[in-house]
Each structure stands twice: as structure tokens, then as C-alpha cells.
């Protein structure tokens, strides 16, 4: 299996280094309340990277994240008590929204596999279709949630932590079990490492690919539910900016875009790095126009450290 080398721990090292530097400039950074805020801001991105990591491990890419999240947030907001439609399913809206995410994921996977269209194009296209549906269904207006109980999904706290953090932790647990303890998880690594060999060894490549996109759809759907609960509404633009964070976090965490190398746990660290960076810049008072530059620079540094470049035969 994977040999443990220091590079596998590099993302964690980068994370701690970042924390130390920020803490030196801003002691408030280390407060418990700030830690909770960072975890809370990480909740939705963590759920998103769970799906994205499997897709990227397989050597594919999922660019439909923003579309699926937005559409599922709209589905969620429309099914709970809201100001636009007469539905009141409460928490029963969740399975519908997550299922919607899974169905769109299946459309991604099936189009990719059966029509042999690169995942890049398929997911980009389907993502736009989702945004289009979300826009058309609402005519550009948001659906606002009036169900206070439903909003407890992210606003409420259990054992002192916002519920969104527990949901994200549950998502990580499920993803980790799939990665380590199921055949699907093993197949993903096999396909990502060398698809031809995997096929010759009897790995059902097509079925695995579709299943992974369905899985990613489920996670995006859950993220959509959480986004709706967090902001109290669903609209077509609710997920804008999420795709960049997702892909960046997966790569910064040390998962290779070429597939086969990485883990869902790495991606959790990746999300923490990206979120801590955003949080830290504001805490340290870095001028806005410098922030993007620093962010870009640090991301490249993190990616360089996280992967053993010499082991990569191909860089695309």
C-alpha cells in the first residue's frame, strides 16, 4: 500500500506553520471562539471536497459543484416552509435535495462514461444546466426560508459546536470509510493510478466512474442543504466561488490532479489551510489588494511541498 513519507505530512506541516505565523501577528487567532468560527466556515467546503477528492483521485474533475450546490439549495429552500412555494416538509426536504444531487451526479457520470466525453466538459456543461434551471425556476429571485427549526441545522449547537461542523464530521467519516473499507474506494485508487491495468485486473471501470460521480453529487447536494440553512435562502448564485475553494483545497491537501495519489483526510487539511488563510489575512490586516497575491503564492508553495514531484511521471 502507500508508503508513509514526510511529504504525506507536509500539508499538516504547512497548516501548523500558517497557524503559528498568524498567531504571532494576531494572538486572537488562537482563541476557542475563532477556532469554532474557522471550523464553521470550513463545514460546507469540507463536505464538498469529500466528493471532489474521489473524483480527482480517479483522475477526473468535477466542475459542476457550484451548479449542483445552487440547485440543491433551491430545492431545499423550496421544500421547507418558505416565502415562495407552499411546502413545509421540514427536515424531510434533506433527502430530496441530497437525492437531487445524486441524480445530477449520475447524469455527470453516465454522460462521461457512455458518451466518452471528458469529465471536464461534461461537468462544466451540467453545472451550467443546473444554474440555468435554478435561475429559470425562480426568475432570478431567491426563495427565503421561514422555517426557524430547519435553520437550526447550521445555526443550532450540539456540545458547544455548531451543527454544521458535526454534519461535516459525519461526511468525513462516511467518505473515509468508503475510501478505506470498501471495494469502491480501492477501485478509485486503481483507476486513478493506471486505468488500463485496473481494467485488465477486472475492475469495473465504467460502473465505478458513474458511482463516484453519484457520490460526489450526494455530497454536493448535502452542501446545498447546508448552504440554504446557513444563509436562510436558496438562489442561483448561492454557491458562487465554491468551485475554486473546492479544487484548491483538494490540491493543496496533497491529492494529485493526475489521480491515484491522495486521501479524503488530506483534503480536510487542505480546506483548513484555505480557510485559515482567508481568516488570517483579515486578522493580520493584510491590505485587500495584496491578499489575492499572497493567497496565490502560498497555494503554490503548499502544493509544491505536498506532492513528491519526482514521483510524478506526467504533469498536465
Amino acid at each position: 500500500m502507500e508508503s508513509i513519507n514526510w511529504r504525506a505530512l507536509a500539508p499538516i506541516g504547512v497548516f501548523f506553520l500558517l497557524c503559528i505565523v498568524i498567531a504571532i501577528f494576531s494572538p486572537n487567532f488562537l482563541s476557542v471562539s475563532n477556532a469554532v468560527r474557522i471550523l464553521n466556515a470550513s463545514a460546507i467546503p469540507v463536505v464538498l471536497v469529500m466528493g471532489a477528492t474521489f473524483v480527482i483521485l480517479m483522475g477526473s474533475i468535477d466542475l459542476s459543484v457550484e451548479g449542483i450546490v445552487a440547485l440543491c439549495a433551491v430545492v431545499t429552500a423550496s421544500l421547507v416552509l418558505n416565502d415562495t412555494f407552499s411546502a413545509n416538509l421540514g427536515f424531510w426536504a434533506i433527502p430530496f435535495a441530497v437525492l437531487a444531487g445524486g441524480i445530477i451526479g449520475a447524469a455527470n457520470g453516465a454522460t462521461h462514461v457512455f458518451l466518452k466525453v471528458p469529465s471536464f466538459m461534461v461537468t462544466l456543461g451540467i453545472g451550467f444546466v443546473c444554474l440555468g434551471i435554478a435561475t429559470a425556476a425562480l426568475g432570478g429571485f431567491p426563495v427565503r426560508i421561514s422555517d426557524r427549526g430547519f435553520r437550526a441545522l447550521t445555526l443550532g449547537r450540539t456540545l458547544g459546536l455548531p451543527n454544521g461542523i458535526w454534519l461535516a464530521a459525519a461526511a468525513v467519516f462516511v467518505a473515509y470509510v468508503i475510501q478505506e473499507r470498501t471495494r469502491l474506494g480501492r477501485y478509485v485508487y486503481a483507476i486513478g493510478t493506471d486505468e488500463i491495468t485496473a481494467r485488465q485486473s477486472g475492475v469495473p471501470v465504467e460502473r465505478t466512474r458513474i458511482l463516484v460521480f453519484v457520490l460526489a453529487g450526494f455530497f454536493s447536494g448535502l452542501a446545498g442543504v447546508m448552504a440554504a440553512a446557513q444563509l436562510g435562502q436558496g438562489h442561483a448564485l448561492i454557491a458562487s466561488g465554491r468551485l475554486f475553494t473546492t479544487i484548491t483545497a483538494v490540491v493543496v491537501g496533497g491529492t494529485a490532479l493526475s489521480g491515484g495519489v491522495g486521501s479524503v483526510l488530506n483534503s480536510v487539511v487542505g480546506v483548513l489551510i484555505v480557510i485559515v488563510l482567508t481568516n488570517g489575512m483579515v486578522l493580520m490586516g493584510v491590505p485587500p489588494f495584496v491578499q489575492q497575491g499572497v493567497q496565490g503564492f502560498l497555494i503554490i508553495v503548499a502544493v509544491t511541498l505536498a506532492l513528491d514531484r519526482r514521483q510524478l511521471l506526467v504533469v498536465k
Binding site: F141, L231, G241, T278, N279, P288
Partner: protein, 347 residues
Amino acid sequence: MGKLAHDSVLLAAAAALSSGIYTASFADDMTLAISMRSLSNPYHATFARGGEEFAKSVGLPFEVLVTEGNSEKGLADIRALIARTGGNVCINVDPNDSPDAATIVEEAEGAGAYVVTQWNKPDDLHPWDHNPNYVAHMSFSGVGTSKEITNALIDAMGGEGGIVAIGGILSNVPAIERKLGMEQAVADTDGKVQILDFQPADWNETKAFEIMQAWLTRYGDEIKGVWAANDSMGIGALEALRQEGKAGSVPVTGIDGTEAALSAIEAGEMAGTVAWDPMWTGGMGLSLCHAAATGAIDVAAEPHEHREFYGTGIVVTPANIADFRTRDASFDYNDYWAKSTGQIQYQ
């Protein structure tokens, strides 16, 4: 076989295209059109509806063009529309970017089409230099209204304390103007109100949410007020406050007058917003354009304040929200400048 199928598809497409041109160029009906960024935000969705209402009132065909944030697409669509209608068209356009306005005006002038622009145009491009095709430019005073809403925020804070400010995309004209207005209002307090920090969140509510969280760590209870350059970011900040049980205890203001912000004002969680009037900009922009095209007004004879003018931005606060909700928002399509609040000033 494949070749044959391909050819017949091309043929059919060409036939469809040419018949389209034929009917359009010989039709008497003038086409009315609206061009803007996207239908996925409430402001532009209402803007388009305003245009549609006017088109219905005069019984003319109506089209909506969407740029999707892409200037090239926006220009290409407008060119195609002008060509298809042989110039017999009135376009009320919110250009994707300021320089686009110059190209659009040039295209319209060449074909005899009529144009009204909204919000974005270069400072040195004026309707009176392009009579009669460039009918008017409509906008809202970013600095003035921002100053008013900031004063409302300062009032809600009791006149003193620190504020944090969330801006739009740094290079956008409205973002620059709104920031300037906010800074002027704060400067007028002679140091009683301080700007603790300013961060751009690119009009995005999730970004505003994360920045607000970081501010709560950095400044905590020093924050007495939150200023946001639009309602989406204001709502993002409000939700970050809610997460900490602080919704309603720290006043937040936005700009745009979205339904979410208006409800938050009613719930006592936001201290104010500025309501633009997209039904009016959408409808009146086309009405003015149509009046110029049909000869109901002679634009060349109109004074400059009728060619470049500000609309009315209404500052909505808890004090006047009830009145705002019940106000008579209807307007007379033939009373072109009733809602104008003066000629556009350049900073």
C-alpha cells in the same frame, strides 16, 4: 449519407435564417429590447420585467438579451438584434462594462437604432454628442445615496463607535462610489465614528460571511456597526452575526433594496438599505427610447439634465419601511423625468 444529412441541416438552417430576416425587416413593428448581465439576480430580473410591462403597454414585441458577464457576447447579441431588425429597434441597455457603451452607441448610430444606457458608460461619452440615436443615460448617485445610508447606520449606532465595511469588486464603478460616500459620511462625524477595517467581498454573500467571522475575532465587541456595499453581502454579514447570537444587536446596512434586506429591516435585524427602482429604470428607459424613436420628443432640443440623469434611490430604514411597503410605486410612462433627481455629476 452523413454528408447529405449535414448539408440538408445547413440548408434548413440557412432557410430559417433568411426567412427570419425577411419577416423582421419588412415588419412595421418596432422591437423593444433590454440588455443586461443576467436574469439570476433580483435587480436585473425586475429590470427586465419593467421593460416587459412597458412593451405590453404599447403592444410591441419585446426581447431580453443577457450578457452573462461577457462583454463580447453582449455586443454580439446587440449587433445581431440591430441587424435582424434593420435598425428598427429601441434598446435599454445596462452595459457589462463602461467601454461597451461606446461601441453600442456607435452600432446604433450606424443603423438608426435608439439606445438608452444604464449605470455604466465612459465619463466622456454623452448622449448629446450622438443625437438622436443615443437618447439618454440613467444612473443613481452612488456617492450621495451611500452617504445617506451610512448616516442611517451611524444614527442606528447612536452616533459613535467603530464600523467594519464590506465593499464590492474593487474596480467596479458602483463599488468605488459607494465606498467614497461611506468614507465621506464617516469623515463628517469628526472622529466619533471610525472605520475599523474595509474588506472587499466581491458582492458575494459567502465571502462576506467569512470576512465578518474574522472581524468578530479581530474586533469583537468593538464593532458597533456593519456597512455593506450591497444587500447580499449585508445578509452574509448578518448571518455570520446570527451564528454568534448577535443578529439584531449590531446594526447592518446594505444597498439595493432586495426583499431579503427589507424583511431583515422589518425583523429589526438590519438598519437600512437603499431601494433602487428597477421597474422604473427598465420601463422608463424603454419609454424614453420609444418616445425618441417615434418622434414624441425631440431629444436634441432637450436640456442636458434630461439626457443624463439620476433616478431616485430611497433610503429605507425601520422608521419608514411601513410607508415604503405601502407606497404607490406606479408611474406614468409619459412623464419621463418625474423621478429624476438631477443631472449626473462626475467626480
